[in-house]
């Protein structure tokens, strides 16, 4: 009988999930406490139990809670999509935007903001407030569909083909966005610019209720792909030899990621950095096993966006900073620090 093998994974990697869950709870509390008016934790709790003062109840339950939920779900969705696509493309530096979903959504948003006035003049029953997220969501999915179709031959979708097609579709979408920006008036330009910076300011209960299922469904389904995605990091042929239905997994991963990112962008505009870097941070601690990276990214992405939004509301109160600025402003330097520390 041979000697037992040592555990193959990293020591303590499994502890990352409970640790990140604690961080998430802390960020949730923070995002209910912080804001233009600080509400201390005991009064937050009272408001949550339905025993707070009228003002606390409005601030916590009507303003901050839906916003925290939307922020958490968006951050989680972006990070999970990033983790999935990085595995799928076998590239730790892949961004969810690579499959065209963000630029497609941006194009649709620009069309709605710049040309939406004409559309609502023709069809008065359309509500601009709802038109923008719906259009952005649809735009993101259409762009991903185009990328997927270009990269598919005889029913086989090539991952490198998707990356290349994504670059081309991004360039085309951004050129059209540029054209629309050029056509826009000052107010439209300002609206669009703010949209590209990302914000959770519009997150009330109705919008959150609309976006939540679209954000949650991919998040619940993608962890089921963790093992096949692990195998696919070895290579697509290798995964096929291990019994993985490579084409099906690839299709599911792309569709679910596009849904998640499309819904996130539709709900909040463009929020960079989360999808690219959160999975990376999780991997630094937990190793590349997608069974840990996908749920870990969900928890960390949610925490990061919730925390950043709490800061966005407080730093320049009573004004609000766009949260997308903060995620990049905090995350970028932190990531650089991690990289230099590891390089040593």
């Amino acid at each position: 009988m041979s000697q037992a093998l040592p555990a193959a994974g990293r020591a303590g990697a499994r502890r990352i999930l409970p640790a990140l869950a604690l961080v998430l709870v802390a960020m949730l509390v923070l995002s209910l406490v912080l804001g233009a008016v600080a509400v201390p934790p005991d009064r937050v709790l009272a408001a949550l139990m339905g025993q707070g003062t009228g003002r606390d109840a409005v601030v916590v339950l009507q303003l901050r809670l839906p916003r925290a939920i939307m922020g958490g779900a968006t951050g989680a969705a972006l990070a999970v999509a990033g983790a999935t696509l990085q595995g799928l493309f076998r590239n730790p530096l892949a961004d969810p935007g690579l499959i065209g979903v963000s630029s497609g959504a941006a194009l649709a948003a620009a069309v709605t903001i710049v040309l939406g006035g004409h559309l609502t003049a023709l069809l008065p029953w359309l509500q601009t407030a709802w038109l923008l997220p719906v259009a952005a969501f649809a735009g993101g999915l259409v762009a991903t569909r185009v990328v997927g179709a270009v990269a598919t031959r005889d029913g086989v979708t090539s991952a490198p083909g998707m990356l290349l097609a994504g670059i081309a579709v991004n360039a085309i979408a951004m050129a059209l966005v540029g054209l629309l920006v050029w056509m826009s008036d000052d107010r439209q330009l300002r609206d669009f610019t703010f949209w590209t910076l990302g914000s959770l300011a519009g997150a009330d209960w109705p919008r959150t209720a609309l976006a939540l299922p679209l954000l949650l469904v991919p998040m619940l389904l993608l962890p089921r792909l963790a093992l096949p995605l692990n195998a696919m990091m070895l290579g697509e042929r290798e995964a096929g030899h291990l019994g993985v239905a490579v084409q099906r997994i690839k299709r599911q991963a792309v569709v679910l990621s596009a849904l998640a990112v499309g819904a996130a962008v539709a709900a909040t505009g463009l929020i960079g950095f989360v999808g690219l870097v959160v999975p990376h941070l999780v991997r630094l601690v937990a190793g590349p096993d997608q069974r840990l990276v996908i749920p870990g990214s969900a928890l960390l992405g949610a925490s990061l966006l919730m925390g950043a939004d709490a800061l966005a509301r407080t730093l320049a109160a009573p004004a609000e900073l766009p949260v997308g600025l903060l995620t990049s402003a905090i995350g970028g330097p932190f990531f650089l620090w991690l990289l230099t520390r590891r390089a040593r």
Binding site: L5, P6, R90, M233, G240, V244, R283, P288, D289
Partner: protein
């Protein structure tokens, strides 16, 4: 165990394989040899089910290969390809453990036994907790071999098929011979093993040798029948002679151009 019959593969106008017949029998180590571009890897891809031949058939254990479900196939046949890159920091042990994927984690004890056996056979125990991307080419090859072994290392699913594409190309001398000895030992246990090899003296350890040249099966048979100076010299275009070593081994030795014998 697995039979290719009249397999032809074309890409564009080029014929990569031209009506190739090959039978990889259980209980036998088959070596597939031939010059660069002879179609060895293409034939292996056809046998692995990665590439459908343009004409001809592949039959595994009495059933046409396309009729096998992917998962069912994964329990019976493992494949080791050339240069498996990996940009993520899995440990060597995690890579080997991926070989157990088709078993679905239903029998943890069997998984443990398989991993331990694979780690010992491919001599990767010492590498187990090291990050795969930091390993040398030869170490990676041993890890990939261990992964393939772990995949089909379960009781009750005989015969098993192991397809190895140049499993020794980055190995040092000792590990080259250890790998061939292992492949032969697995064949003795009833497995069907096919190894694409470049070193003809390693190929001489096989029970059966198939020599491909320009997509055509140039010769097939026992090493003594196929690996003759005449056949090898004709196919590779270099003079070869058979020499007896001091220990009584019979060795194929190329003669450098100009050093006419």
């Amino acid at each position: 165990m697995i039979r290719a019959d009249g397999v032809t593969v074309r890409i564009g106008g080029r014929i990569l394989l031209d009506r190739v017949h090959l039978s990889v029998e259980a209980g036998r180590l088959t070596a597939l040899v031939g010059p660069n571009g002879a179609g060895k890897s293409t034939l292996l891809a056809v046998l692995a089910g990665d590439r459908r031949p343009d004409s001809g058939t592949v039959v595994l254990d009495g059933r046409p290969l396309p009729s096998w479900r992917q998962r069912e196939l994964a329990l019976r046949r493992a494949v080791m390809l050339q240069d498996a890159g990996l940009d993520f920091g899995f440990t060597a042990g995690e890579v080997v453990a991926l070989g157990r994927l088709p078993h679905g984690g239903l029998r943890p004890e069997e998984d443990r036994d398989a991993l331990a056996a694979a780690a010992d056979m491919a001599a990767v125990r010492d590498l187990w907790t090291k990050p795969y991307p930091a390993l040398s080419g030869g170490e990676r090859q041993r890890v990939q071999l261990a992964r393939a072994l772990a995949q089909v290392w379960s009781p009750g699913l005989d015969p098993r098929l192991l397809l190895l594409d140049e499993p020794t190309s980055a190995l040092d001398l000792r590990h080259q011979w250890a790998t061939l000895a292992l492949a032969r030992d697995l064949a003795r246990r009833g497995w069907a093993v096919l190894a694409v090899l470049h070193d003809l003296n390693l190929a001489a350890m096989a029970d059966h040798v198939a020599l491909l040249n320009g997509g055509v099966l140039a010769a097939a048979g026992t090493p003594a029948e196929v690996l003759t100076p005449e056949t090898v010299g004709g196919v590779y275009g270099i003079a070869v002679e058979r020499v007896a070593t001091a220990s009584g081994l019979s060795w194929l030795s190329p003669l450098p151009p100009g050093a006419a014998g």
